[in-house]
């Protein structure tokens, strides 16, 4: 039972998908076989956390006191959540301009992130990074580049360091479909495979870079194939399929951790909001509303919630409670982050050069 899209750049690309949770059950069930209820609830909680964090941003953004360009992750939550479930605090990730989801899934405290978005002294980067450059060494996020493709090289470098030290850390690089057009992507795939580095490449194919559909930019969109030329196994994970992501990410992470080198996962998804800022793209005519509606129907949270309730027999009230608790804690984090003090103006001149503290 396919879904017809009346118009829109990605029409050719979107295959039919059965949203009915009953029918999804068998596939989902197979995928979840290694996951306890607790795992599943963790997964749900992470997705909810990301969603609510960003909905908070949308709520408050028009006040114009959060002065940082926000690239919202809403609609893509399944990926960060599904991948980071398998990572420990010592594992590294690199993110990109669309950073919030990855940072939260990797364990960053929402209030520190809010403080950073507000340019506050207690933000993770003392207010110098903002939304596009979060970092948190304790969570294995050693800096974020908003240059498309930049984070991929940093990730491979993190993995090289881990390898040279014989540490068992894994590095995950998150990046968009647009990043796969930058030459640096291939330079990194080649080297990662050559040295069998413990790195997992996660391509979040949301079908657009800014307003350009992938059909404007690449002759085909099988991004999972891009590593094959270097003997890197590639996988395609269907639209927002959180359990699929979870399963393949686990395999890839375990493989990397065991010394068998990199993998590439293409996770197909869709961003609900504009490339930057809280509006929706159809408002300014960047894409048809019907396309968004279709993908809202594939909301990773809604689908997963249905699965949990109908197939795993998890009580809706428990899920509601998780959501309510999270909403409360996000509100609180926002309150705190927003009310932190600004840095002194002198901070401007700090950290241009590293100074040894001997």
């Amino acid at each position: 039972m396919g879904t017809e899209i009346p118009a829109g750049a990605c029409k050719f690309y979107i295959e039919s998908r059965v949203i009915n949770p009953k029918e999804d059950d068998k596939v989902m069930g197979r995928r979840a076989k290694n996951l306890s209820d607790e795992n599943l609830i963790d997964l749900y909680r992470t997705m909810i956390k990301i969603r609510l964090f960003e909905e908070k941003i949308i709520d408050v953004y028009s006040a114009q006191d959060m002065r940082t360009p926000v690239h919202l992750y809403i609609g893509q939550e399944a990926i960060a959540a599904g991948v980071c479930l398998h990572l420990g605090p010592k594992d590294y990730i690199t993110t990109n301009h669309r950073s919030h989801g990855h940072c939260l899934a990797k364990g960053m405290d929402p209030k520190v992130l809010f403080a950073e978005l507000y340019g506050k002294r207690t933000g993770c980067c003392r207010g110098k990074g903002g939304s596009m450059h979060p970092a948190s060494v304790e969570h294995g996020i050693l800096g974020t580049s908003a240059i498309v493709g930049g984070g991929i090289a940093l990730a491979v470098g993190n993995a090289l360091a881990a390898n040279m030290r014989r540490e068992k850390r894994v590095t995950v690089a998150f990046f968009g479909d647009g990043a796969t057009e930058e030459g640096i992507f291939f330079e990194c795939l080649n080297f990662a495979s050559l040295k069998r580095l413990p790195v997992v490449f996660i391509c979040e194919n949301n079908l657009y870079a800014t307003n350009s559909p992938i059909t404007n930019r690449q002759p085909n969109s099988y991004l999972w194939t891009r590593g094959g030329i270097y003997d890197i196994e590639g996988y395609f994970i269907y639209d927002n399929d959180v359990l699929g992501i979870c399963q393949k990410a686990r395999e890839a992470i375990n493989k990397a951790r065991s010394g068998f080198g990199p993998s590439l996962l293409e996770c197909r998804t869709y961003r609900w909001k504009g490339h930057v800022g809280p509006e929706e793209d159809h408002e300014k005519g960047a894409r048809p509303k019907s396309e968004l509606d279709l993908w809202k129907n594939r909301c990773p949270i809604k689908c997963f919630r249905n699965y949990l309730i109908y197939s795993r027999k998890i009580r809706a009230s428990l899920l509601n409670e998780i959501e309510n608790t999270m909403r409360h804690s996000i509100d609180e984090a926002w309150q705190i982050g927003k009310n932190e003090p600004y840095p002194d103006q002198d901070e401007l001149y700090q950290n241009v050069y590293f100074q040894k503290t001997t």
């Binding site: 240059i147 800014t210 350009s212 930019r217 960047a286 001149y349």
Partner: protein, 343 residues
């Protein structure tokens, strides 16, 4: 002259209109220039990430795709170095690409192709081939754009023989200089600033071009010379108005093109005032200010009555926090303070 004047307030341009003169924003002047170029030169085309989309590069290419089609208003993959090389190859074969970057910060991605290829091909081939390539790039200040989305990187191209640098400030100039750039048929870095798109001014409808290498005196004065680039022209004019009230008479020079540079115009002015500020939209050390000041002193060691001053971004990356961003950018009051300390 309406085509030399800088209009800080929109209201001022009402006078122009009442005189029957045509008023356009910097943004629309740029768009008009591109439309006329595409019409006149079949070998010209625009390429860039998102040139054909609803944003239309801050509105500067909006609608052009409907007029000229997707081949000549070409959206491209995210591959700045390769695409620049492709533009160069097309230019070498006789096309006239205008390559557009949403931010100047993306220029480092294609430094290989700009520096080692575009700037050298004419020379290396002994003049057989030349590269009519215009590279539009936009300095994106403000709203937490931070370290990788707000740099002014034009200064480094001063050091690269074979590439010219143009930095228009007014609607009149942006049109005339873009047309001049295309007709010049050299690799040209065409530097814009996001904060000047809304400024208005007189812009004739017909195609015209402005000689590359000619600066202009935006305001005559006898006490001090401010050489101001791009957005700094407006800030300097504002400062001049404030300082006038205090009896200080500021001359504002807009070089318009940085390479070649209208050295003579600046030299004459400083010979008169004995005081020089160079105000640029980029970091201080190793920038355009140093070259201008050095050139002046090479010509006359007794030129200066007081030490020259460079007004720039500080030598740090751009921070994100609004309070730090405020501290980062030099303002009218910096200029006023600097001038006062010099006279």
């Amino acid at each position: 002259m309406p085509w030399t004047k800088v209009f800080i307030e929109k209201d001022e341009t009402n006078i122009l209109q009442s005189e029957g003169l045509r008023v356009l924003s910097f943004r629309n002047a740029l768009k008009e220039a591109q439309a006329q170029i595409l019409t006149k030169y079949p070998e010209a085309f625009l390429m860039g990430e998102g040139v054909d989309d609803v944003g239309g590069i801050f509105g500067t290419t909006l609608g052009l795709v409907d007029q000229f089609g997707k081949e000549r208003v070409m959206d491209i993959p995210l591959a700045e170095n390769g695409m620049t090389g492709i533009a160069i190859g097309a230019a070498a074969a006789g096309m006239k690409p205008i390559f557009i970057h949403q931010r100047s910060d993306f220029l480092p991605m294609c430094f290989d192709q700009i520096v080692n290829h575009a700037a050298k091909l004419h020379y290396m081939t002994g003049g057989q081939v030349h590269v009519p390539l215009v590279i539009r790039n936009i300095i994106g200040r403000g709203f937490g754009s931070a370290a990788q989305h707000s740099q002014g990187l034009h200064g480094i191209f001063l050091h690269i023989p074979g590439i010219k640098i143009i930095m228009p400030s007014t609607p009149y100039d942006v049109k005339g200089l873009l047309i001049a750039a295309i007709e010049d048929e050299n690799p040209i870095l065409f530097v814009e600033h996001r904060w000047i798109y809304d400024y208005m001014g007189f812009v004739p409808e017909e195609m015209y071009s402005i000689p590359i290498g000619q600066g202009i005196i935006r305001r005559n004065g006898k006490d001090i010379t401010i050489v101001a680039l791009s957005h700094m022209v407006y800030e300097s004019m504002k400062a001049a108005i404030l300082l006038e009230k205090e009896g200080i008479d500021v001359e504002v020079i807009d070089p318009r093109t940085v390479k070649p540079m209208d050295e003579e115009l600046i030299f004459q002015s400083v010979s008169k005032t004995g005081r020089l500020i160079v105000a640029d939209v980029a970091c201080k050390t190793g920038g355009i200010g140093a070259e201008v000041i050095c050139k002046m002193i090479e010509r006359n060691i007794n030129l200066f009555k007081v030490p020259p001053v460079r007004i720039n971004f500080p030598d740090t990356p751009t921070p994100s926090s609004p309070v730090l961003e405020d501290a980062y950018y030099p303002t009218v009051s910096h200029l006023v303070r600097a001038v006062k300390s010099m006279v």
